[in-house]
Symmetry: C2
Subunit: 505 residues, 2 copies
């Protein structure tokens, strides 16, 4: 493949949704499986998830939470209790009805019908609540701070790899507190953990805010979110934190005796992030040559490509490659040893080079016979054009590399922030203008539209429906409110609330 052409076809400009699918494929991140809506996360994609888990798990633990594991299955009756409070309840979920397969005439037949069907967890509030109702007795048992890393299933009619899949991986935190204030504080504390993680590690700027009533988690008193803008200017919800008040405690009968010996319902929260964040990484930092991994989340930060034009170069070049790798591994970046891979495969140099470009490895280091002679390496940064090469003396490498990685991390964040902020409109004040802003200019590319609108809203939940036809939603009421007065973008009435409006995934 020539370096003149882009590695990914179509480009983002040509067809953004298809570009996304092609990056997932070219970077070898994941693939669709023969099971409808379920994905296979390949090693390169799973390595990103493992790194996300590692960083976030540490944060979750350092804020006092412990991990536990609850059953995959939820009895139907648990959801019936919930459904009793929800009009027109319907759930897309996987229902287990039999517990045995038997062969009859060469066919396998489900047998052993269950007395009560089981639901594969779409989220674990009800099953965890059942345990919590037994674990919590006294105020001494509170706060109860539990997290679970698990797979969940929601039957998706229009699945899209990483972003919306029938089965996905996530962490779900579930906590119980003695007071409403403390539960509320926890809700915002975990939102801040997510913000810090997504901005500092994934290099994706987020807007933290509260969901409007129409977008709230069913049963929550309030839902908080981190909202990102990806390169087609749509919003992507990166994680949510729910303040559940006493609603779930009442449904699950989570009660405790307080210091005065009186029985009260607990105050609960839940919060989660998912493998969708891998999709967010691609959509935020990807370019027309593939994914670009911010150094702090890359599971391989440096790949060394030995160049051996003739067999007699092998010993010297491979020896130098291993020596450089060892030296870099004993340096640290972001408190961790730098992760270095030496690619010794018997492939053409160009082929290897492009593979790592598409996979988004931050740094590629070439070492050829002349480099060995001169005790230098040739270094390429994924955030610079592929032909831009820097020559660095081997002696300076382990001192310079952490600085380069830091610089790249900052670059990725700055680029994403610049992109986002240049596509937030603050000068749209009427519903008519809003409509125009969100109407695609080019019928062939319905995905290209305006971006985010920061406007005023009166706060009346009934008015949110006006946005349905536009396929726009209130993404959030940012935590940072201007407190100025203006006119509601939907009704024209006087309004004070700042809201972000956008199309979204």
């Amino acid at each position: 493949m020539s370096q003149e052409k882009n590695a990914i076809s179509p480009t983002r400009e040509e067809n953004y949704p298809e570009w996304y699918q092609q990056v997932v494929k070219a970077a070898d991140l994941a693939e669709n499986s023969p099971v409808r809506g379920c994905m296979v996360i390949k090693p390169w994609g799973y390595g990103i998830w493992e790194n996300m888990q590692k960083y976030l798990d540490q944060k979750i633990k350092s804020t006092g939470h412990e991990n536990a594991y609850f059953p995959l299955f939820i009895p139907l009756s648990f959801l019936e209790k919930e459904a009793a409070h929800v009009e027109g309840f319907a759930k897309e979920c996987a229902v287990v009805t039999h517990h045995r397969l038997e062969e009859r005439n060469g066919k396998l037949i489900p047998t052993g019908e269950l007395e009560e069907p089981l639901i594969v967890r779409p989220t674990s509030e009800t099953i965890i609540g059942e345990s919590f109702s037994r674990w919590v007795e006294s105020y001494r048992d509170l706060p109860l701070l539990i997290n679970q890393w698990a797979n969940v299933v929601r039957w998706e009619m229009r699945p899209r790899i990483f972003l919306r899949t029938a089965e996905f991986l996530w962490q779900e935190g579930h906590t119980v507190h003695a007071s409403s204030e403390e539960a509320f504080e926890e809700t915002l504390k975990m939102l801040e953990v997510y913000r810090e993680f997504v901005e500092n590690i994934l290099a994706i700027p987020v807007i933290t805010g509260e969901k409007s009533p129409g977008e709230r988690f069913p049963g929550a008193v309030s839902t908080y979110t981190i909202e990102m803008m990806v390169q087609d200017r749509k919003a992507l919800q990166g994680g949510t934190s729910h303040f559940l008040g006493q609603n779930f405690a009442k449904a699950s009968n989570i009660r405790f005796s307080n210091k005065d010996g009186e029985t009260e319902y607990g105050h609960t929260t839940s919060w989660g992030i998912t493998t969708r964040l891998i999709g967010a990484l691609i959509m935020t930092h990807g370019d027309d040559d593939g994914i670009r991994l911010p150094p702090k989340i890359a599971h391989r930060q440096v790949v060394i490509l030995p160049i051996m034009p003739k067999p007699e170069h092998e010993a010297a070049v491979l020896g130098q490659a291993e020596k450089v790798a060892q030296e870099l591994r004993s340096s640290t970046f972001n408190g961790q040893p730098i992760s270095v891979h030496v690619d010794k495969r018997d492939l053409r140099g160009g082929e290897k080079n492009w593979e790592w470009i598409k996979k988004g490895v931050p740094i590629r280091i070439e070492i050829g016979p002349r480099d060995v002679e001169n005790q230098v390496v040739t270094l390429c940064r994924r955030d610079q054009p592929h032909k831009t090469k820097i020559t660095i003396p081997v002696a300076e490498l382990s001192q310079k590399l952490p600085l380069i990685l830091e610089d790249m991390q900052n670059n990725y964040f700055a680029q994403a922030l610049q992109f986002r902020d240049s596509h937030i409109r603050r000068d749209i004040h009427t519903f008519e203008e809003l409509k125009q802003f969100f109407t695609p200019k080019n019928a062939d590319k319905p995905e290209i539209h305006g971006g985010f609108v920061l406007a005023k809203w009166c706060g009346d939940p009934e008015t949110e429906k006006m946005l349905d036809d536009l396929k726009v939603t209130i993404r959030c009421l940012p935590l940072e409110q201007s407190e100025t007065e203006g006119t509601c973008i939907l009704t024209g009435k006087k309004a004070k609330l700042d809201v972000i409006l956008a199309k979204s995934y």
Copy 2:
């Protein structure tokens, strides 16, 4: 609770199965859930699993494997292919038949029947094989070395927490190789990884060996196992490694073109360990006061119990406790910082102390006002009687503690080894003697029986059925074979193979 009495009732001697359940409860490791056969793994139990994952994941990666994630669901047709080769195929598994719940008259009804039912994975050979058939094209793609950490479901009729549950957690390795020799080598390499992990980290001695044909994984050419003896002298299978030859490659169509351009089927292996190893820890090291955690697997190796008879002691005692904790945390044991917890809860000292005894924390350190004055601590080891206390100067603690932990780790292994070896009989030569050995002496306690028998076997698969009535199986043909000749314990014929026979979980 008085220190004269045992914390767990009944004792092992009185009722071993019930003792096990009570230890699980007293140590707060796990509980049964309202979902039949599924368990809730509580933080103290899950912390052990996390530590197992951490150590083993590192080993799996350092032997060249990468993690990935495959779908939870397997299409029925995938299992039908397999069933075609297995007579009287029947599987206890969870079958998903619907993808939606709808409310009708206050009841939730499964709707949206699937065209093809989905099976919740009982193991992932078939679904992973489908991916592998696409990933493998050329000999350059081999070896393909993949591991998955996941939950699996096997409908169990007689579940027992950790040992046999409908849903359990495990890792499953799946590899493809270009030659039979290499696949066989991989099978034994991973068996050795398991042996090293279980013996060195869990302090449980194992016998490594090959399964007899009657105990082989269906479809495998050969199955290897690590077998442990727990304290009721039964065998517990701790992990298996399967050499699958080309059987699964043929079923899944995993083919590659070799160096000569010819198309061949790959040679595959699979291997796994599960949360059942937590059960093995309890059953091997537990005593009548609870679980005893070997220091290398304990997620908290030291707990500090501040003793403050009067409020005015608080500042000095808590200050000293934190100081000691900090100092210990900067020491290392087994290459990791020592994990220390300061238990500041407002509970009576005796209550706290017993809680940590039952939970099996290796070291309890008491610090009272007089200890602060004298700059000493009072240390209790979980492998010694609870009243045995050692006084150690604070100045010497961080130097001595790693040595004490090492000593405990060795003690636990030595005790388990001594117990096992004293219950392996090598002097049983006839079927009649075998029968007598495995017949319970006391009808009230059917669980108390002889132990392991190391005997000769002729190798005829037909003869294994003779053991059914005794509820005994050939546990394995140890890798270490004596190569001597003797008489088959089942048939009396001349025989050379050494085998281990036992009742098992």
